[in-house]
Symmetry: D2
């Protein structure tokens, strides 16, 4: 890449002392919504990247690692997949993965930022593919908090693809007792609630541990799992919550048939991958076993 | 500036070991013309910046330093300012400065890259102001080389605002004997040819010195001058060539009345500034006195 | 971290378009050996870091992830751990991990760069701890190639902790048929040869796959495994080769007792971690199943 | 410069949005004194650089631009150069320049940071050359504030080479009425006080203007001058104060003989350079003519 092609960079700052710099070969969009600053850029290694408030949300090249990890363990383990609720997920890729299973009759997605959804349709069609036009998709632009409080339906799977509850994040108010109770009220008996749950590196696992500790007050099974997502430059964690199912015990006999039923091919997930992402290294198990603050 | 506002950066690389990084708060345009890669970004300190092939061309905050230094010494010293020729100068700011003097009857600008001109009209209107619509302005999108070879007119002032003759630059073929002769043929007797002429820092003055050595073969007076342009992060040099006038000897009695005749106010240039930019530090005079390669 | 404490940075370049920048709060050492450029710096997140030719070798904060993953699966699976050979491993941490098991009677380490070994003793004592002084340790400063060709002993475990066979690396000549045959000749019957084996991210797995394809020509069981190492900013892979043991099938009954016998506590590795690192995601299994170039 | 030689960088941050990055090919020293963080690094373009609290103090390649500009205008204009006082100037280059003139009988240098002086002797001998050993040099490690309050001598030239009075700088308490009065008390009648006086770029001239406005309350002639110093990536300003001499009016007849009397050759300064640096551009003169805050 000659010098002249390396003049634009996207810098993700993880801390004041750690940064990842990506050379940008194209800026697709850069602007503000009512809620956040939005960037869509092209890079050589990761393809298109969606950036909200300076943080990578997903990349064209490896979004399937993140989205398959977020969606399929819960879907594979769920007793009833007919009605699925997605909180956040503006790119449409979580919706896409949910709709790949034939059991799904309705996939409801609630995202507060209509601009992100529209920009994703325009610039990130590789993410959502045709899912926004799927007749089974119900896309609601609105406040998840309000939706959870007013909705009356029950969902076999609830998937939270919200940004992390950092202090200055629009997702911060969504991490409190009222919301946890409302989510649980929307979950069908034995249903599964899965959420993206921050980072799980040895040096940045405290927020994840706090989320896990909090959710143990609401569910019988609260299981952490994670995978490295190269575009995030981080080990990314998820938490699966249920009073009926412990996803850590799911194996080949349940996962293989589930995967065969999916439309299209997986990139990342199958029974062996499931074993990988639910088997945690020693230091993380130790950290999760410690007591500490909750939300 | 919070972390989330510092995720886009424009990196200008001066050498493999020296870079200037500007945080970008807005990308106005990013794309390619037939000739070069074009970026227009907004920064906090320099305002909008025009970037061609990864190099800063001018910034909203200090383009007047560059453009007043390029245009006014030659215009102040010229015997006849009625007909002025500008090579390059796509932003329209060189044209703007030329048109500020009431003696000018026609300002002809020849730039090869129509995209840069159109983008400048759209995004950099602060540069050109109304000059592209001035009835005295003749704007030709085309090859300066061809124009010089085919044109029959004579100009009292010729101003070259081309990018430097680096090996991979579209301006490279414009730095050869044929062009030098054609330019001289287009110059009215006693006229002045002034060109932007690369950098004059102690560590990067060799291209400038080579340009000056070359032009001494064509003109009686070949005078270097320079000013630091903060957005360029460099001492930027110019060369004034003439068989009639030595601009280094121009002073208050000629410059003050010239400046008073200009429409609007100067930001940078007047007689004292002229003294500054034409008085060269010892190391630069020594370097210019050495013999060496020519084009 | 105030501005004044963020003036030194270590930039690891993964490709011309991807870089990780670490703010450096202390430079412990910077210089050249006969073989490579050596840096030892301190950072806030990763503590001390050893850098050879601009690439991170290990960090104080997470070197145990790398070294436990490199050493313990092979040691746990080996039938005979009395005599262990380490190629490379200058920091002394591979040696340290090997010496933690009471079965080990002799651990031979051959590293070409005596400067790296001495600097590690001085600055990175947290890595080697007392292992360089352990009477069971035999440390040979010399060429691994020559050692393998001239040595007559047989080892139950051979661990290669050499830098990758990149074109300009001193390890490049160590990746060829002659060396593969020599290593196999030094391996006791049923012994295990394990090597660090480059990156296994979706975007940078080709060198690893080539290494795996090559080694399949020499051993019956050639098993890839990997873990994300945050200081490397990469999924780091290993290959375990043996004609007797398939490490992918090792489980709790073998691993748990092995770990209990180790002096001190593990940070990363146990049976559950073993399950994680040997279970590969779908895209990596697919890539490893493809045919292609070999060394 | 191959990738492996570009892993260490010195980043000078001018504002949260503007940075200059220098690749470092050698770290000579990095540590803390009682007063500040000290770095001495080698770069390809600027040679060795001295860095205090993250700011460039001077570079081997262009320190003469700064030091000749600081010292020689005042020395050339001074009626009596026998006794010269230097505040700060730890590298020893200000001392070196002062001692080049045969009129000087005693050059007193007061610097608070003995570590900087010792490190400069060890690593930056090109700066001080033999000046620290010159019998005319009197080097006092101590507080300039205290020295000025207690000293009884009078100096024909006082040169302040202190860091700028930024809020967190050790020089901040040195910019107040008491010190200004003490300095004036130490100045021989008609003597000249010259100080380095921050930046004079269009975008960062306010501190300089405040310094100039303040000093006008103490001296009849308060003259700003500046030069671009590439290693500083800034237009660097100075202020010359005197009740007897206006340095802006100094010219060839005084400067040429002075320069001839200097031991060795100048790199930057002579009468033409003097004309350059004392002729200010229009925008700076306008800014200096405005009223505003003082210290």
């Amino acid at each position: 890449m000659p010098k002249t092609e390396r003049w634009q960079w996207y810098v993700e700052q993880f801390s004041p002392t750690e940064e990842h710099h990506h050379a940008v070969d194209r800026v697709y969009y850069q602007g503000h919504s009512q809620f956040q600053e939005i960037g869509i850029v092209g890079t050589r290694v990761f393809g298109k990247m969606l950036i909200l408030d300076g943080d990578t949300q997903s990349s064209q090249a490896d979004e399937k690692i993140y989205h398959e990890a977020l969606v399929h363990p819960a879907m594979a383990g769920a007793g009833d997949r007919a009605d699925v609720l997605i909180l956040g997920g503006g790119e449409g890729a979580t919706l896409r993965e949910v709709l790949r299973h034939p059991d799904v009759r309705r996939a409801t997605m609630v995202d507060i930022d209509g601009d992100v959804v529209e920009l994703s349709k325009t610039y990130l069609a590789e993410w959502s593919q045709e899912s926004f036009n799927d007749p089974k998709a119900r896309v609601i632009i609105g406040d998840a908090l309000k939706f959870l409080a007013e909705d009356d339906d029950r969902y076999g799977v609830i998937i939270s693809d919200l940004t992390e509850p950092l202090e200055d994040s629009p997702s911060n108010p969504l991490f409190c007792d009222e919301v946890f109770r409302n989510i649980k009220n929307r979950l069908a008996p034995g249903g599964i609630y899965v959420l993206q749950a921050s980072t799980a590196g040895f040096h940045n696992l405290s927020l994840h541990a706090k989320m896990a500790r909090t959710l143990r007050n609401y569910y019988e099974h609260v299981v952490s799992y994670y995978t490295h997502v190269p575009a995030f430059d981080n080990d990314w964690a998820f938490i699966a919550c249920s009073d009926g199912v412990n996803l850590a015990h799911l194996d080949e006999p349940e996962i293989a048939p589930y995967c065969r039923e999916l439309r299209g091919e997986n990139f990342f997930y199958d029974a062996e991958t499931h074993r990988r992402i639910f088997a945690l290294p020693l230091y993380l198990r130790r950290a999760l076993a410690e007591s500490g603050e909750t939300f």
